[in-house]
Subunit: 435 residues, 2 copies
């Protein structure tokens, strides 16, 4: 361990000695931008590597089940597109994206209650690029973005990369604590952080699995209107509802055109295509398009044509239903196993999401999920620690469990192991102080 | 207590915003970032739309000939990858990119004299994303980037999007005017614009077709070392040499690790895959990777697998030779037609590139290529005006001609029309003032 550090240090030294001006290394560090100096690699990314050891049952990555990818259909479409439509499918396309794909997405959006014209939809390289483009379009350094505690890690990274001031608002069972939001907005303004964006994942949020109530969605729109903010509504999991009744998207409740919607095909078609879309009021979307042009000119014509033809020529609704069936089984298996195997201990609770890929555990205050992780890995089970999802550094006693990738059997066995890990961890810790 | 104050302030704000003179729209404009307020859509993009009219022979877009895309091979690989390797080809991959593709690229780089390890290469969504990531990694607002007059438009857009201060340096027949560069660097520093990057396309530059001499490449590296700058060496056309002797890449001459190389498959495999790579010293590349993670998590696994397998299982060198053969014919046709059809007039000249997709015309000073464009379109021929390639707004009498997309016959006919356009334009203008 120390040897490794020492080697890294020696490498640094030898770098500095190279060349006539031996301050060269430090000199080059001074060339980095402020955003890079502040940015860090994802902790989770590093942890995920640990979860790849053979024999480990991993609830860590938010990775779709590859058996849900419609491989026969896509293989046939790909061969046909490349062979017979190569002048389009292998050529550059417009920055906004392929028309047939945008048209197909407009139909999907309208099923969600959202009605867009062609020039209100731009294809992105999955929703992460949507986040990057939104950050570029709205954020100057120090501008305030409001997001929940916890929230999606990719959003944190995208907004941080444009040096936004990230303001965390507690997430309750039915959505963000909007009283806290209402206080935080003027506070940020007063502190010199112009409020710009509110970022939400209202359906089966990553990481918590929480779905916002209709009432909170309405009030969020009112707040955004009163405070003149843009709402970024990320809906990667919206189609993946297993139970309960759909709640209208925030964007449907907005009458002023201040909601930008992010969609991705990663969870409902194939993550490896890197396809998504951003939709919203034209006057905002056209600025996003300018940013996209500088970012990558356009998204892959080939993958766009594949997705467009899949949506046009295959039964996407049926495909989604099959997905939901598969993931519902896995969610149910995880919930049942948690009931069965988790120790009965005060302060332990978990969410019961009506869809999506994740559920969220809160452990007793004195348990630290990062400290507990080596024990879990020893027991051959992996989870994601909660802290990286909290912009305020809290959440030490939380974890995210993803049920999408393992089989039902692996889920049962993995949760059994996790129960044992927690019991051992609790036994190893001094009892918490009582007030 | 704080809540009360906040509410009072909100009332005031909402009073200011709502009411009869609903300023909602203006209010939302105030939410845009500085970079967006300054950014403009590409002029060329708008002009390209004009060139799409039926019957027009277009030398405008820098678009590869789709007949060069290896469609049979790619169709077969795509079907096989999706059907039999869907667990990888349709799934997320690492931010750095697929190992087999990076390994294949390392072999290609080594044929150019550049020797990289795996962790020195990151796959990008074509070279435009490379430019975006480089801009993010190094530029704070106002930081100076030095680039030639003219230079690649996509680079201008990417550096502008991160609010770089773009400093134009004249481009001579054998590369940048390095005396001018040596003067410009301290001048920028003095003016409060910390010098960060020098952006160059040393082989068959877009738009000019100019290739840098070895001597200038050496001196560029010396200047970058002395002034502590990073060189961004963009090599989209390097393989496309039709004649003459290859010159070592700038990166090969660098001993200090201050050159980042950008590669793209757009011109040598298929533009629609949106695949490229960034390579360089590990300490710089690892920062770029952090920025890529926030930008799109990863590039498409599917397109990466296709490119990797094409490079591993097919004869890429032979493919490149075929490409060169095809484009050489087109370049020769254009050069011959220019000799034949261009009027003999003082101040008219064009480049004779040894490779790439473009050549560059300089017209007499009193001719404005933007003003002349409607006449060209009337004659059913299109070109790209030169001005957008000049960060200082000069170049009114220049144009770029791309020979990649039209057939040899179309090239001859298009240049004939262009000669006529120029003759008419010259006849319509008052003779230039003589000194």
């Amino acid at each position: 361990m120390w040897g490794k550090k020492a080697r890294a240090w020696r490498r640094e030294l030898s770098w500095n000695r190279k060349g006539p001006g031996n301050m060269r290394g430090d000199g080059m560090d001074s060339l980095f931008s402020q955003r890079v100096k502040r940015a860090r690699r994802s902790v989770i990314r590093e942890l995920l590597k640990l979860a790849e050891e053979p024999g480990i049952i991993s609830f860590a990555g938010g990775i779709p089940d590859p058996e849900t990818f419609p491989r026969e259909a896509l293989a046939q479409l790909a061969a046909d597109e490349i062979l017979n439509n190569y002048r389009k499918s292998l050529q550059y396309t417009t920055t906004e994206g392929k028309r047939p794909l945008r048209a197909a997405l407009i139909r999907w959006f309208s099923q969600q209650g959202l009605h867009y014209e062609l020039d209100q939809v731009v294809i992105t390289s999955a929703s992460q690029q949507g986040l990057d483009l939104v950050a570029k379009t709205f954020l100057d350094p120090g501008d305030a973005v409001f997001l929940s505690l916890p929230t999606y890690l990719g959003a944190i990274q995208a907004f941080r990369a444009m040096e936004g001031e990230l303001v965390g608002i507690p997430l309750l069972e039915d959505g963000m604590d909007l009283d806290a939001l209402e206080e935080a907005i003027p506070r940020a303004r007063k502190a010199g952080h112009p409020p710009k964006l509110i970022y939400v994942v209202p359906d089966f949020q990553n990481p918590s699995g929480v779905t916002w109530s209709l009432e909170k969605r309405r009030r969020l729109v009112e707040i955004a209107s009163r405070e003149n903010l843009v709402i970024v509504e990320d809906m990667p999991y919206r189609s993946l509802r297993f139970s309960g009744t759909p709640v209208p998207p925030v964007a449907e409740l907005d009458e002023e055109g201040r909601v930008l919607v992010l969609f991705t095909f990663s969870k409902v078609l194939a993550a490896g295509l890197r396809l998504g879309a951003l939709a919203g009021p034209k006057r905002l979307v056209e600025k996003v398009v300018v940013m996209k042009q500088a970012a990558d000119l356009c998204t892959s014509s080939l993958t766009q044509r594949l997705a467009a033809r899949f949506l046009l020529e295959h039964d996407f609704s049926q495909h989604i239903q099959n997905l939901c069936h598969r993931y519902r089984e896995k969610r149910d298996a995880m919930l049942e196993a948690l009931e069965q195997y988790m120790p009965e201990v005060e302060g332990l609770s978990w969410t019961r999401p009506e869809g999506g890929l994740f559920l969220w555990l809160r452990l007793p205050e004195h348990v630290d999920t990062e400290r507990m992780l080596p024990r879990a890995l020893k027991h051959k089970v992996a989870y994601v620690i909660g802290t990286p999802f909290f912009v305020d550094g809290s959440g030490h006693n939380t974890m995210r469990l993803s049920f999408s990738l393992p089989t039902v059997e692996e889920i049962r066995e993995g949760v059994r192991r996790l129960g044992q890990v927690l019991e051992e961890e609790l036994a190893s810790l001094p009892s918490p102080q009582r007030g």
